[in-house]
Symmetry: C2
Subunit: 438 residues, 2 copies
């Protein structure tokens, strides 16, 4: 099948059949399609869209472009969570050990941070020695022995996605639901899951800012997951302010260890709630609980009895990390940092927080990446003290910056202050969980 | 300016300004845009189209991506003709010497044949020794001394067009009027013309089969030419049957020499008429005649008095060709060919001719190219005897094949026969010239 005939069909608004989509993805994988042909078709898909059949076919073709993990030797149900990304979003570090403690296997393939959002791999690497570059064999062994493992995407998983994603980034074709779905789901389904819960963020810190777009994305992902034989549910959750107490890689791990130690920080409540809600769906779909309420009870008990922390400790050891952070989480905070409050300049209520602005402020002092090849400073970050609706007076701290020097404090402090809108209205808080799809 | 921001603007249906278009074409020319970025923007342009301002800007940017010929040392008006291509379309070989004989300079940059259509360069190369690969200096000198020159596109002319055209061919983005216009007009305007006449073909042997599409293309080209300060007119002409007596490179040159010798073949009348109509517009726009009628009279006199043939002879000598073909045009016909009639299998009238089918039949026996890198057999071809409306009886010849052997005759003969629809209706002939634009 000639690339041109497939490109022409989508150009003219036709529905591509399975054979045409397979031919495209094979061509991407084996290099017989040139980059410029791939990008022409991607633009045609962007503008003429894909229907739900095409959506399922392209996801399956991308999934099967590489290795699909085989966990048939593990008798437990396999479940995972995926988030579309946000600021301070660190639920993976809580959910994986917590769900593993409930006798569900969690083979979690994660990504790195880019732009204003963080990435699970970067957070984990702030634990001294922790290795996220596992071979497929190591990954399987740790899932089998510990109950969960955390790793980056290997070259063997969905190679067509890797190629297509790089081209989309360079050709202004990232923000389109069918290709976002195919990219996420092809990687997640390669984990050989029985069930998957999706955390689709909405609000000014999310890629899909509007609730409408987030809902469309959630529905498309659930439909695609189910059509591939994986039980799938999505929560649509608020990202109009940073999630939990901290933003910044090591600080976020610190926050999670405190939660797993059943000793949560003052501002961690939304993070705990969201982690439990997501984990509860995993237990429910895995048959470990009849209802979400029952699942929540089980999950809380696994924190209280220390078994979630035990899983975290075992995983950290097996992945080469320093498990002493489980006993002394303060070890994660670099003592040489300049720690200084960011002070409000007027009285009022926090009306809104430019969440992307907060993410970029931390990114700009080294806490994240502007380009994929940038290095990250795991220590720097920010403790958010004033959430939306908080009453504040001039001179009160809105948060605390953890930075390297005065000039970083000046730059990031100013960026953070201008991210907070302080005014006279007392707004209704946004619900943390806005909808459940599936 | 980042390529992504320009791609995103056209993706979202915005109008690109001159700065954005210049940045794109500069990036194509200097290699700073990757091929996959070019093709993504091209697909977005295909689907979201270009308005007339964008059309003019991209043409000018492509034109100025390379050398623009400077004929200021030649005092005569400079004029050229361009055809969108067809089967048996050989007017360039008649028009160039004829108009040059009327004291108008004709700097004619031409192309090669591809698919069912022929190309002027291939036809000229069937004259032994004729060189179409002229340097810019040689080209200018021959235009100056002879009045016309015929050459292929040098690397220096509109390099951005060359790159973009190759990508369009590979990405199913050829058939879109704005990019067709930019491609044709950027090359033609690089010839440093005062005026240009366009022959826009319509019918089943043309790229733009419908009259509506051909008219849109003609209007866009005329508008673009005028906006670049070049007087431009377009004739919309019939391509529902091969033009003139012959199809095939050497045979077509033979037909043209016969016309220039004022000794036209029996079936050459439409070719003569169209050549005169096009050439008349060139004379009129060049100020050599007040009206088309006056111009036609002048042109006919230049054939009758032999001065057009003299120009052809001088040009052939200056471009290294064997000018003996001017005295003995039969030299152009290879005596070793198998020459055999294709016989009708039923009685009736020629209701239609699948003109593309005729073109491909000759292409397939070596008379044209399937791929750009194919070699061409200049000798093979076809004499069309039965035009639309001709009454025919079973066993009468519909044409004569000039081929290499029996198996070529079998294949091409069958393809040709099936291209002719012979039935009972006597159809109204299509007008040769359907409209004049500009």
């Amino acid at each position: 099948m000639r690339p041109q005939s497939i490109i022409a069909a989508k150009r003219d608004g036709k529905i591509l059949n399975r054979e045409q989509i397979d031919s495209f993805i094979e061509g991407v994988t084996d290099g017989s399609w040139a980059d410029y042909q791939i990008s022409a078709l991607i633009m045609a898909m962007f503008l003429n869209e894909l229907n739900s059949d095409e959506q399922a076919h392209i996801t399956q073709a991308m999934l099967h472009s590489g290795e699909v993990l085989d966990f048939s030797s593990i008798e437990k149900p396999k479940s995972d969570k995926h988030s579309t990304g946000g600021v301070g979003d660190k639920t993976s570090l809580i959910i994986a050990p917590l769900v593993a403690a409930c006798d569900v296997a969690v083979p979690m393939v994660s990504g790195r941070g880019l732009g204003h959002t963080g990435g699970t791999l970067d957070k984990l690497e702030s634990i001294p020695g922790y290795n996220v570059n596992l071979s497929t064999d190591e990954f399987k062994r740790i899932v089998s022995e510990c109950g969960y493992a955390m790793s980056g995407q290997t070259a063997d998983i969905a190679p067509a996605d890797k190629k297509i994603y790089a081209l989309r980034d360079a050709t202004a074709t990232v923000p389109t639901i069918p290709l976002i779905v195919a990219s996420i789901m092809s990687k997640k389904l390669a984990e050989g899951l029985d069930s998957l819960v999706l955390d689709v963020k909405t609000g000014n810190g999310a890629f899909m800012e509007s609730l409408e777009d987030a809902t469309r994305l959630a529905k498309a992902m659930v439909e695609t997951g189910e059509s591939c034989g994986v039980k799938t549910k999505a929560l649509i959750t608020d990202m109009s302010q940073p999630l939990g107490a901290y933003v910044g890689n090591a600080l976020e791990v610190y926050e999670c260890v405190k939660i797993l130690r059943n000793d949560p920080l003052e501002h961690s409540e939304p993070l705990v709630q969201l982690s439990l809600e997501l984990a509860a769906r995993m237990l429910e779909m895995s048959g470990r609980a009849e209802t979400v309420v029952e699942a929540m009870g089980i999950l809380k008990s696994k924190i209280e009895d220390g078994s979630a922390l035990d899983k975290f400790r075992l995983n950290t050891e097996m992945q080469g990390g320093d498990a002493a952070v489980c006993d002394t989480p303060e070890k994660l905070i670099d003592e040489s940092l300049l720690v200084r409050e960011v002070l409000a300049e007027n009285d009022g209520f926090v009306e809104s927080i430019d969440t992307k602005g907060v993410g970029f402020a931390i990114c700009d002092i080294g806490g994240g990446r502007v380009k994929a090849e940038d290095d990250v400073d795991p220590a720097v970050g920010y403790a958010s003290l004033a959430s939306i609706g908080t009453e504040i007076r001039e001179g009160d701290p809105i948060g605390v910056l953890y930075c390297r020097n005065e000039s970083q404090f000046e730059a990031a402090g100013e960026a953070l202050l201008s991210s907070y809108k302080i005014g006279n209205s007392t707004l209704k808080m946004e619900a943390l969980i806005k909808d459940v799809v599936g």
